[in-house]
């Protein structure tokens, strides 16, 4: 019998001594410099955390490299953040700079703290998933190369700006509540393969699987297949999941939506869902310069226009979407207007707006 259900290793065995000692009794913190947090305990003890940027997709040898730094300066302990960033923890102020140098020697940027941009939550994309409408790691690399100054603290922002990316509507990573997000989407109906349909798929199941009722039997009774309504299809790809003869990926019509203004934190304002700022940009690997450009435009407008400590969503709440579109120069199109379920809530039931 296999041993099961032993649960994860107990984190308590992995904590640095200074954390064990000050567990639950930290008093305050400061950001000493970009990427370096100093936490001070009621005891007076100090803990330095050095945060470094990393790809999400790494190899074991990379982890071993991190271990070497941790062994050398951190008594063999380290952690990762909720945004994939390795963090080195030490109670010795004198270790901070050596850790930074060691990380930089590995090509890792130190930063991601305070009012700027940290690592990007993202998903698998073409590397490993079966339903992506865009890539993940490639696009993230292109974006973070460009936004690097905001990570390492060369440039700062009015507040944290959280970036996320998901490669399909499943939105692994829950990018629907984040300051700035990219989600992969299809924009064309699935191409039904009438030849293989009958062998590979079950008609009633396939039809029932479509959330909008867009799939009908083929009008020609001789053809044992289905047709998809251009009117009703919202390109969700559910049908493909059920029936391999209905591929929805379409190189010319796949790309991304850019979302803005969401957040999870309940600081000042309640959590907010992200909203569609750009309904579609086609894929353009390897560097998606259009996507990167639009993100930069939004970020720079936010940087120039928002007041500390407004998050992107709070800034837009204050200036209004009228001004958001005007100031970023992004076009407002009919696709930005909600026409899905319960869309009325998003319409402007007021004469209060800005010109």
């Amino acid at each position: 019998m296999a041993i099961t259900d032993i649960g994860p290793p107990d984190f308590r065995n992995h904590l640095p001594e200074v954390i064990k000692k000050n567990y639950g009794t930290w008093k305050y913190h400061e950001i000493v410099k970009p990427g370096v947090l100093k936490h001070v305990g009621e005891s007076g003890d100090e803990l330095y955390s050095i945060r470094v940027g990393s790809a999400k997709l790494v190899c074991t040898d990379f982890i071993r490299d991190l271990c070497e730094i941790a062994d050398k300066y951190c008594d063999g302990k380290m952690r990762f953040t909720s945004r994939y960033n390795p963090e080195f923890l030490t109670d010795k102020a004198e270790n901070v700079d050596p850790i930074i140098e060691a990380a930089q020697a590995l090509g890792l940027p130190v930063g991601g703290t305070g009012r700027g941009i940290s690592n990007m939550i993202h998903t698998q994309g073409w590397i490993h998933c079966h339903t992506p409408a865009t890539d993940a790691s490639g696009l993230v690399k292109a974006i973070m190369d460009e936004l690097y100054p905001y990570f390492v603290g060369e440039k700062t922002l009015p507040n944290k700006l959280k970036l996320s990316l998901a490669c399909c509507l499943n939105m692994c990573g829950a990018i629907h509540a984040t300051d700035l997000a990219i989600v992969g989407v299809h924009t064309a109906i699935p191409a039904v393969n009438d030849e293989t349909f009958n062998a590979q798929c079950e008609t009633p199941t396939t039809m029932a699987g479509c959330p909008t009722g867009a799939i009908r039997r083929h009008p020609d009774k001789e053809i044992k297949s289905v047709v998809v309504s251009e009117e009703k299809c919202m390109y969700c790809g559910n049908c493909y999941t059920i029936c391999p003869s209905m591929p929805i990926a379409n190189p010319e019509r796949d790309g991304v939506i850019i979302y803005v203004g969401g957040k999870c934190a309940n600081v000042r304002t309640p959590s907010m869902l992200s909203r569609v700022a750009v309904p579609f940009i086609p894929n353009n690997p390897p560097r998606w310069p259009e996507v990167v450009g639009v993100l930069k435009t939004i970020i720079e407008t936010y940087a120039a226009d928002a007041r500390t400590p407004e998050r992107v969503g709070e800034w837009i709440l204050r200036i209004g979407y009228e001004k958001f579109f005007e100031r970023t120069g992004l076009p407002f199109t009919g696709q930005c207007i909600d026409d899905f379920e319960a869309s009325r809530e998003t319409l402007r039931a007021s004469t209060q707006f800005k010109w």
């Binding site: 924009t187 992200s274 450009g293 979407y321 407002f332 930005c336 207007i337 909600d338 998003t346």
Partner: protein, 405 residues
Amino acid sequence: MSETPMMDELEKGPWPSFVTQIKRAGESKALMAESSKDLLRQQETAFTEKQGLWKHGGIVGVKGYGGGVIGRYHMRPEDYPGLEHFHTMRINHPCGWFYTTDKLREVCDIWDKHGSGLTNFHGSTGDIIFLGTNTEHLQPIADDLSEKGWDIGSSGSALRTPTGCVGPARCEYACFDTLDFIHDVTNTFQDELHRPPFPYKTKIKASGCCNDCVAAMGRSDTAVIGTWRDELRIDNDAVKEYMDSGMDVQSLVVDNCPTDAIEMVNGKLELVRAEDCTRCMHCINMMPKAVRPGVNKGATILCGAKAPVLHGAVLSTVIIPFMKMEPPYTEFKEYWEKAMDWWDENGKVRERISELIDRVGLDTFLKHMEIKPVPQMVKTPRANPYIFWREEAPPGLDEFKKYIH
């Protein structure tokens, strides 16, 4: 003892009593004076039984009109003979509900001649309501009215009697001539008003500013609400007068500006962030002598308000952020006719225009209307990623070239 003790109870107290009015109608020379007593008795019964006693509708009408009369029959005509038929008729009011006493007496006379003498001044839509008459009097009423220059209002799946606030007649805030506009529109759309052509009722209301004194935001499929396109005007001498008279301008006016657009700068009120002002009227309401709308005036056109049946109540939402409102209101009329055409073609029976928009999406409406989508129409863009492109081609890479840094 009185036959109607509960009704008598409702003659007590300081507020004017409808019971007194019903009794008085009974004393008057109104044709159906006898029905007043029956009405009080039936009302006493309703109060006792805690439920209404009127039968369902029943269709009645007058020649040449498809509406304007609401048929009403009693459940127990044997007990209340004076109420066997007790229809109402809706009479279109003069805009702003302005009357000469001659015209008022005239309309009262017609009603006394043909009905119960009971009336609402006015109904909630804005008509004069003649409350209670027999089927045989309907046509004579209509004839007498039109002879004297009155016309019937509306009911059924028609344009309902449009109303506007008192506006320029007595209000310094009016950003367009609500009365002339409503009068014009009412006359232009007589056919739509009198011969129900639509899937359901539809309403137009006009308020001269966003104080919205006819509650257009809440109860008109088409709401026309005055606003201005430039900057509000401040007269600091008058500001000073208000301050001298003891008004705390900072806390009452400035601190309540929702957009932080105004500030006191060196003792003067200034519109320091003009582009942030959403023309909410607050500062103007507080100091009408000192602050007033801009000079480039017009209206915002909103669409869709209605009562809750069937999917919950709806407030009007922005369709045209700014429209100039000048006679003959061609732009408005073209807008309205086109919108009604679309609704007429696509709406199901008993589906108001906002319910149709909810069903097919605002963008579909805008496309038909050939109106460019602008962010003023929404509170926020969509949160869901379910964008329908349909026959439209999504943008290509070229359209984003300019963003490449």
